[in-house]
């Protein structure tokens, strides 16, 4: 531990703070960073409305937003809409199954006392730390033997397996925090276990279910690795994978490429802007205890 940085840092800061003020310095830093974050995205959107010549000669100019030629070409000439549909189907089905199966496991572990419950929780949570990518060879062979290579089922199976650990973790924690009196009262009234779960406990779980859904939504929607290995047939490709095919076909047509990237980014970006708080909570939730 040297004292040099300890001495130098406050002095440098005092110098800058003297001229700009601490708040001014913070503002400059944040504005510069936000510019660096948004500028590439803005250029991407702008370029989607331009022709090759415009992109090469005036890369930073504001385009004519009524020129939808690139987007029309994508909608009519390519299988892009198909990729989008596949992604929505695979992601939606996976999230549905993850929430259903995850809640079932979490409910059993979190609301009942039975032999091996804590071991089961540990088993599920262990999955959080395993990078399933490294088991791609056995998964490939397993799916070949099951005959589901080159189908959406293979992707859904992996995504559900990937999503369960975090969901069980989040949901168990949440379900355990709910007061026991609630279900005891219902039980006294003669409600069945299933009825207690569906009518009383699950409606209370909505915030935790949303966190779990978003926590899984982004990695599944964006995944590229598993389709790369499992899916060959073009009509079954998901958006990120289809994008590589699409870029390969249009690699001299910059306007179309940028328009494709813009379209691919659009659904998740819109959703993120509407639900930014939930997105940020959901995606950092695995990291926060």
């Amino acid at each position: 531990m040297t004292t040099a940085p300890t001495m130098a840092a406050p002095m440098a800061e005092r110098g800058l703070v003297g001229t700009l003020g601490r708040a001014g310095l913070v503002q400059i830093l944040l504005i510069a960073n936000t510019f660096l974050m948004l500028f590439p995205v803005v250029i991407m959107v702008f370029s989607g409305f331009k022709s090759n010549v415009e992109i090469f000669q005036q890369p930073f100019a504001i385009p004519d937003f009524t020129n939808l030629e690139n987007f029309v070409r994508i909608a009519t000439e390519t299988t892009f809409p198909r990729y989008m549909f596949n992604s929505i189907f695979v992601t939606g089905t996976s999230i549905g199954l993850i929430l259903m199966l995850g809640t079932m496991a979490a409910y059993a572990i979190g609301r009942y006392e039975f032999f091996g419950a804590s071991f089961l929780l540990l088993f599920f949570i262990a999955g959080l730390t395993l990078p399933l990518k490294l088991a791609i060879i056995p998964l490939f062979i397993l799916f070949r033997d099951m005959g589901i290579l080159n189908t959406h089922l293979s992707l859904i199976a992996v995504y559900v397996a990937m999503g369960l650990p975090s969901t069980v973790f989040i949901m168990t924690g949440f379900l355990r925090s709910l007061p026991r009196e609630l279900e005891d009262a219902a039980r006294m009234d003669g409600a069945s276990e299933a009825r207690i779960m569906f009518k009383i406990m699950l409606p209370l779980c909505k915030p935790a279910l949303i966190i779990s859904a978003i926590h899984n939504l982004v990695p599944i929607w964006n995944d590229f690795f598993f389709p790369l290995v499992f899916i060959q047939q073009d009509s079954l490709k998901t958006l990120p994978q289809g994008l590589t095919t699409f870029i390969g076909e249009y690699n001299t047509d910059w306007g179309v490429m940028f328009a494709g990237l813009t379209l691919a980014a659009l659904p998740i970006t819109v959703l993120y802007i509407i639900l930014s708080r939930q997105f940020i909570n959901g995606m950092t939730s695995g990291a926060l205890k």
């Binding site: 406050p10 503002q27 590439p40 992109i55 572990i109 299933a194 590229f224 993120y272």
Partner: protein
Amino acid sequence: MLNFRLTGRGLWIAFLIIPPLAVMVTFVAYPIVSALAYAFYDWNGLQRGEFVWFENFRIVLFQEPFAEWTRRAFMHNVIVFFSLMVVQNGFGFILAYALWREPFGAAFHRVAVFLPVVLSTVIIGFLWKLFFHPIFGVVNQSLRAVGLDDLAQPWLGQSETALGALIFVNAWAWVGFPTLVFLAGLQRIPPELLDAARMETDNEWILIRKIVWPLIAPSATIVFILLFIGSFNWFELPYIMVGLDGSPFGSTDVLGLYFYRTAFGNQSAGVQDFGQGSALAVLIFAFIAVVAAFWTVRLRRREIQI
């Protein structure tokens, strides 16, 4: 509606737990265990051959040219990890610290910094690949626009700059994650504690080192470990931006690419070897697991010693 109480609570619990458990056993536990087993067999395409003990491990670790490729890829992962530790996590902490003061527009800046995190690596990779184009790319166009023509260069096309460019893109895309995890940690520091510390010293640097940093140690632990795991699993971004061979001349080859090439072959050389691929997967996994476990224990100990 069936009344499950009649058939017993045990049956109800089994009904709840068995389906999710079956998914985990089939698609997580079994493949992970198989990955270990497969590494000890000789493979002929997709057909499993004889049990060959540690032969696959010997080849990837000690037999040239495989050993050289393994070493080179591993060294690149090490560089990626340490660079991102400084750039991505370091800058993330500075941004979190700035946002923590809730300056004007903090909510907007928070949303902006996290935006690339929700975008697919494929989109980010292609976008920056176009931006790094030597002639028409925005990066070189910007440099020329401000008179720095000498700095304009084929960033992804030369060995000296390609890995650095990839690291930059990764940091750009992911800096929002450490930023917001650190920010959440900062926001949980009790204000009384800071007020008390401020009475003792005006020095912001001492405050950060002695009070703030130790108190957000749990956030640091998780950010460090996740970056470590991510760096040694790095695949999508280099695959999109520099291709499966880690071009130019293998200067961006990392373990993820090397593993994929070995297991599934590439377009030019269609050789695929599940045995050597499995051996690599096991080695990468063991390395990540051992280092992450030891490091977590060390970092956790730091958390307690506040």
